[in-house]
Symmetry: C2
DNA sequence: ACAAAACATGATAACTGGTTCATGTATCAA
DNA sequence: TTGATACATGAACCAGTTATCATGTTTTGT
């Protein structure tokens, strides 16, 4: 049920900025050294995902997380510096998970336009499978604005690059790729919300098909 | 500086659903009966807008709101039922303010495609002028999900209608107007965030122009 | 086997901030 | 003027939190 396996390697960058300060104090937020530690850390992470996803950052309670993880309060702070810190770890992990999932599903698309459709379909499916995590990312806008900013900037950057390449190959028109990247992200996010989170009755492929048509031809009449 | 004049008439719908229960207790959240009351209420509202906008819902403090409004803590609860209640009032007001602003700027567009461009330009300008209020709407997703849902559903509904009319007139192509409406909203919101909130160095008209091109022609090469 | 390091505990300190309420004061209708 | 209603006050209440720390237990390397 929980998709947070293979988390361990991805959590150090959270506090990465000023980590040159290697204090002699216990370094929370770092990968544990023993198997027991890793197990515990993972349990806390899983519990946190559930708690944050269900209640949101502010309503979420550390004591509920630790209880649900089957450890004592203090243990939380052995592994994480603070409530915000574990939240950031979750957000950062989400970015990777999402990108990886979409990348896989898009890998063998013959061209950019097909990739757009498959990518959107994959995204909607992903959202449906991870409503909680989707919420976490959205809420990071207020809890950890820089994490949120980075999350989408990362997306936009690679998006932009692929658009540029596709334009060079003539697969798509020329245009302002930065703007187009953000537009496409906006489309995904809102369709993901509308047809992924709020109402999952329409097949993802159908939504993706309709959107792909809009993305390809725009609103111009008689364009095809 | 503050755009919350003409607020009074719009705040009753917040608790409107089950208001048949006309208790004998002081009805907070209703329009005050005397001039003094209206003045005070407005002061609180203005202060709340600033406070919520700057700090976000959870960091915002009632005592700072009342202090900034020049009234005592208790006075807040004479006029509003709770912290969440005033927040909802603000969100609902934002919807009207935004729609009105855009509607004005789009009123005399000759066709739908032009309206799209002008509307986006107006929206970006609006966001730049009202960063605080924009933030309030976004955060409502977590504080008052139903208010958020209604906010965008309202937008989508009227958007959809206009697309349908435009398609009937042949100004734009046929398509799934619900999906297209949500896509267009997504574009606006993300461009608004990227070029309105995060970076306002590019002229709104330029952003709108680029986006309008994408909206009109899509990514298809050689379409024009 | 033994010390050192890593990990775990959980009661509680220390605090925050929304909401209440008993008690006023202003306003208005008659 | 007077009674009733509307509005205002702000100290105190209170529930709920995060984070700490002194003390244990497990694991690891030698």
């Amino acid at each position: 049920m929980n998709q947070l396996s293979c988390f361990v390697q991805s959590c150090n960058e959270a506090e990465g900025g000023d980590s040159a300060v290697s204090s002699t104090k216990p370094v929370a937020d770092a990968t544990p050294k023993t198997a027991r530690g890793r197990r515990t850390r993972q349990n806390i992470l899983d519990a946190a995902e559930k708690e944050f996803g269900e209640r949101g950052f502010h309503e979420a309670a550390i004591n509920r997380i630790t209880e649900s993880a089957g450890v004592a309060m203090g243990t939380f702070y052995v592994h994480f510096e603070s409530k915000e810190s574990i939240f950031r770890a979750l957000v950062s992990h989400m970015g990777q998970l999402t990108r990886r999932w979409i990348a896989e599903r898009v890998a063998d698309a013959p061209d950019r336009l097909t990739a757009e459709r498959l990518g959107l379909e994959a995204f909607i499916e992903f959202v449906r499978q991870h409503r909680d995590l989707y919420r976490i990312v959205n809420e990071s806008q207020f809890v950890a604005p820089d994490a949120y900013h980075e999350y989408y900037s990362e997306f936009a950057k690679s998006y932009q690059r692929r658009l540029r390449e596709a334009a060079a190959k003539g697969e798509i028109s020329q245009g302002d790729d930065e703007q187009r990247a953000w537009s496409l992200i906006g489309i995904s996010v809102f369709l993901g919300m509308r047809y992924g989170v709020w109402d999952d009755s329409r097949p993802a492929s159908e939504v993706a098909k309709g959107a792909a048509d809009f993305i390809e031809f725009g609103l111009k009449p008689e364009a095809r």
